[in-house]
Symmetry: C2
Subunit: 708 residues, 2 copies
């Protein structure tokens, strides 16, 4: 059955995981540098946690002045979070006690489970069973913990936690810890992460659950996620759809864009990495902004925090170096974005503020007055930011000029305080001087290179376009059941069966018939009329033409002879073959362009459609487009339009316009057919004949594979 992407998912309420009222720490310790000591110190000393903390340790009476209980059963009552930092052999028992006591969540930092060996996999399976039986939800195992910087509360053993505490509107969901902490350390330049989940092996709770929680959290405006592998693609899609409904952009980095990465990530996280192309398709359709590196994730997320884009922002460049102005403008152009034209009043204000030798059109080069006349620099910047045509001001700063840079940074901060549009500095120097720190402190989050600015700005504007244009009613149907890896035996429909199934679904297809003797062939030919194609049908013969098993342009008059000739050729060439008969169908109309529509099951995201014009365009130029289902007629029209070769359909070099309306209709019907055929494993309609406008389309060949 087609499955709605999010309505079937009841996402867990994680309120008291991220903001517990009480915490027990199993393995709490006084021993310096131990994991249990770090974990306790982070909660008791470095967090602003006001709830109850219960150290659990049979060998100590107190930890950090708090009374210990020997095990979880001895807790005065159920707690919201049981944090587990003891060695792996004791974890299952502690979690079982916690589940039976009615505790809400187990946060298991301990390693040595499914990522390690068979014993660990068996132990992890027990954790899953306990969760299902008792209702306790499990975070981890094999993870660095969970951090709520908006409280703040650090349920983590990381000695770096205390250095990273700053509240903020970005929620971050990762799997491993190292890459997540990298992003948290971007607070050096003013990035503002408020929540960070890092859920390790994800035996129960997973990235999707945290995205869904962050979508509800009123303090979170933007969600970042770093995914090494997916446990459940449909759940991920549903969570992202929920974030989109709440107007919160999700920025995603997915490991596994190359074979090396996919292999390494699969062994690291024991989850499925899936196909990079399909992943990008899914991200694009869900409005998840895909990035290529960690710093780029932070760049884009912070830009969203500063302002939600409309998609038609024009850019101003404000520099004090001619080279920086040129190179920055170059990057705006390379991104395909538009430089703003200043209104007359802006030009007047700039002329009043700047010397005659400055460049007052966009990109602005104030020349060295940033050093000699900082007030004029500030006034010119204010004029630029106040221009009605400007949607964002870029301020490239190529070098650290010591105290002068500090003064300029303060000018940017002052102008931003009175400006309606974001003023975005690009601190291009490797030297992080006082000016840089000033910009970070002021929340202007300097970009670190023009390249990164270019990439982030393009993504920011594109997301504005996506928000404007998105179909809020569209819901992805992620059908993952019976994905290729999990599927049992399959069966390929015969051409007659396949085309009948398509025709029944309203997909225009030739209607072949099977003749088992010459008389039947003649009768079928008489009924069909016109020029016909005859093909041998045999489960044992693939390359039909090679053995004389195909005849074209057969007429009713020559039908019987054609049948006998084909059967004779086949019997001669392959004496042992089982010959079913001869397939008869009308010849394809002359002319027309060939397209193809394919459907396959991605192991993560289920049914994905591929469309293209086939042949050279696909094989040499990879000119295909993909989509999750359902594909409506409108969506199909968009897919056709995204092909580089789309012009071939719309009258290239004076050729006839093709029937793109009928083609879009066919694509949409194939989508409906796929959704209505849950056992569908794979399908390839190739070629689809595309006639002139009004002449329709026709599936000429179709291979359909279903679960047996």
């Amino acid at each position: 059955m087609p499955q709605d992407a999010y309505t079937p998912y009841v996402f867990p309420d994680l309120t008291h995981l991220f903001a517990p009222r009480s915490i027990a720490v199993v393995g709490a310790s006084e021993k310096p540098h131990s994991i249990g000591n770090h974990a306790m110190r982070n909660i008791v000393e470095h967090s602003g946690f006001k709830g109850d903390v219960h150290p659990v340790n049979p060998k100590q009476a107190t930890v950090m002045g708090l009374p210990c209980v020997p095990d979880v059963t001895a807790l005065p009552g159920p707690v919201d979070v049981v944090m587990v930092v003891i060695p792996a052999p004791g974890v299952v028992a502690a979690v079982e006690q916690a589940g039976e006591k009615g505790c809400g969540f187990a946060v298991i930092l301990t390693s040595g489970f499914s990522e390690a060996d068979d014993w660990g996999r068996a132990e992890e399976a027990k954790l899953v069973e306990i969760s299902k039986r008792t209702g306790i939800r499990i975070y981890g195992p094999n993870c660095p913990g969970l951090v709520n910087l908006n409280l703040p509360l650090g349920m983590t053993f990381s000695p770096a936690f205390k250095d990273d505490i700053a509240p903020g509107p970005i929620g971050l969901a990762t799997q491993g810890g190292g890459l997540g902490r990298n992003m948290i350390q971007h607070n050096e330049r003013g990035a503002q992460f408020g929540l960070w989940s890092s859920s390790g092996n994800e035996c129960d709770l997973q990235v999707a659950d945290f995205i869904h929680h962050m979508a509800q959290d009123p303090e979170i405006k933007v969600i970042g996620c770093l995914v090494e592998g997916f446990k459940d693609g449909a759940r991920f899609a549903a969570a992202c759809a929920e974030a989109a409904r709440r107007g919160k952009p999700v920025v995603g980095l997915k490991v596994g864009r190359s074979e090396y990465g996919a292999r390494a990530a699969a062994s690291h996280t024991a989850s499925i990495t899936g196909s990079a192309e399909v992943n990008s398709t899914v991200f694009r359709q869900l409005g998840v902004v895909e990035v290529d590196d960690l710093d780029e994730l932070v760049d884009v997320a912070m830009l969203f925090c500063r302002r939600m884009p409309t998609g038609d922002e024009k850019i101003a460049v404000f520099a004090s170096s001619g080279g920086a102005a040129s190179l920055c403008a170059d990057n705006v152009g390379m991104a395909g974005l538009t430089l703003a034209e200043f209104a007359p009043e802006t030009a007047e204000r700039l002329a009043a503020a700047l010397p005659a030798y400055a460049n007052m059109s966009n990109p602005i080069d104030t020349t060295s007055i940033s050093i000699s006349h900082p007030d004029a620099y500030r006034e010119a910047m204010a004029a630029c930011a106040a221009d009605p045509n400007v949607g964002l001001v870029l301020a490239p700063l190529p070098m650290d000029y010591g105290e002068y840079s500090v003064v300029n940074a303060r000018a940017l901060e002052a102008v931003q305080a009175g400006a309606g549009v974001p003023i975005v500095p690009i601190w291009m120097s490797e030297r992080q001087g006082g000016g840089y720190r000033e910009l970070a402190r002021a929340g202007l989050v300097p970009f670190r290179s023009l390249r990164n600015m270019r990439k982030a700005l393009r993504r920011w504007v594109d997301h504005g376009v996506w928000r404007q244009g998105r179909d809020a009613g569209w819901t992805p149907a992620v059908v993952t059941a019976g994905s290729p890896g999990a599927a049992g035996p399959t069966r390929t429909l015969s051409e007659v069966e396949g085309k009948r199934a398509l025709a029944a679904a309203g997909v225009p297809a030739t209607a072949p018939e099977l003749a088992t003797d010459a008389a039947q062939a003649a009768a079928i030919a008489e009924r069909m009329g016109g020029r016909l194609a005859f093909k041998i049908v045999s489960p044992d013969i693939t390359h039909k033409s090679d053995i004389g098993g195909v005849k074209l342009n057969v007429t009713p008059e020559t039908a019987a002879a054609a049948h006998d000739e084909i059967m004779a050729n086949a019997a001669k060439a392959r004496p042992d073959a089982d010959l079913t008969g001869v397939l008869i169908e009308p010849m394809a109309p002359e002319g027309g362009i060939e397209a193809f529509v394919g459907l396959s099951r991605d192991p993560v995201f289920g049914q994905v459609m591929t469309f293209g014009l086939g042949g050279i365009y696909v094989e040499m130029f990879a000119d295909v487009t993909r989509a999750m289902l359902p594909v409506t007629r409108d969506k199909a029209g968009e897919m056709i339009g995204t092909l580089k070769s789309a012009r071939l359909l719309t009258g290239y070099r004076g050729q006839a316009e093709r029937d793109t309306a009928a083609l879009a209709d066919l694509i949409a019907r194939v989508s409906d057919f796929a959704l209505a055929t849950p056992g569908l494993v794979e399908m390839d309609i190739n070629p689809v004949w595309v006639g002139r406008a009004g002449a329709g389309v026709m599936a000429l060949d179709a291979v359909i594979v279903v679960e047996a």
Copy 2:
């Protein structure tokens, strides 16, 4: 005349510009914060300059304890460098005096010349005239000065000079100052610039001259250049060819890849930015490694300093975080590079050093033993670096872990000391902690992101391939004389003239003949025989088919009638047109694939060839390839092979293989023709018919434009 790219250039000897024996400072001053004071302090206080320094100032008796002379004529004798920091109105007189006194170089920092206004342009023209007349060579004007960090000597007014002094093997040639200083400030992470020229308006000496000088300087191993616009493309090509001959890679960043950048750079530097596509073609052919941003220039240059690539390096990834290992391996794969397979002895050493739960295959994940057992971390790293299959070790460090990071950084340094391959850390955190500073100090020049590593590593390996494969004898022929901007009136050859010219140059082309009456048409047709194409010839008629001016498949029998019909149709459709006659040529053979060969004059780099298969492949997929001349047969074969659509020529889907040998020959002959035709402005052979292997090729149409 075709011009050899470098032999005609006598590059100036800049030895005593970069390392003068004596310097006069015109405008030297005691006044604090003045340009003249900064300039003097940089030479006298912050440099290690041992030669004579002569302050020139009519109003002071001494500056910084050195006796002043009132003007240049009063110097005791000619000096190597006259540095000019006085206001623009006095500059020409001072330089004239310096030239007449026999001084070697004028370094003019003063602004207000061609970049400013008409007066400035006129003054700059006088500087050029003085240089030509007296032999003094001019650096600037409108520049921040010249820096030799290997002495050190700073002939600059920059107050930042004193912070940036560190010797190194990279020479850097820029035009503006801001972007250049950005790169110098990468010494924060251990980048090693030894020379930096920043030559402003370049009224005389230009980037090419500095590249040529750096190619000679034995202390320089790698050359970086940042070009906003070119003064002389041929000179640049010659300088880069010289660097290649001396085995020194040139890494280049060119502003002007978008219209915005090109316009801004042109107004900033008053030079020509040229076409981005042609620029990239030229860079590629000269072995100049093109980069996209400032940090990337430093990244690649430093990698070259660490080791020259062979082009077949295999990579090892050594991490202490599973996520970092995966993402780093992912980037190696995305770059199309290869992970090394470890030799058995390496596997044994790793197994002995690392715990069983570490990942010991490539990418290595040591897990947290980097913190708990730093000696084991170091031993494992040493094993990895000693593996015979490893050409380079990547060590991604996702976060700053305080003192632990310092310990790991020292381990990297220690292993590098005994390793034959580069160990390359990637400090991914925004937080530049002690570990980062340790890596920078040790000369390991940490990359700042996996993305930048990926890009640099790919360029590094590619340059190794280029070095192995380059044809050291090939010399670009940069014909810039009479470029479109400078050209006078032009003339388009008639089809008969054009094809005769091609045929004379050995380019297979149809040989059309002109008939001016029916009898002549019949006679020509009789002589040619076979099926013929007839076309009206008139300077006034472009769309010949539309007016019935073309007839195909004409035979000798129907020739006279066809002639008359065409003439009548033309006379009827265009009564005022001047009708020259009817062009007669054999029909193109049936079948075959169409290609095109074009030649145009780039304003910077002169004649550039464009080749492709035409039609859809060019218009929808931009599937073309470009080359500077001369294009040999071998080079032409490579050009054909770089097309994405090349498979169409080599037997795509069972079709016939095409005559690529004849096609390569045609391309090479067109190159020879162009070089032998100095007045050639533009040429478009389209289509070229390409027959089956052995059946040859044929230019079916050709438009050739020459200077009138």
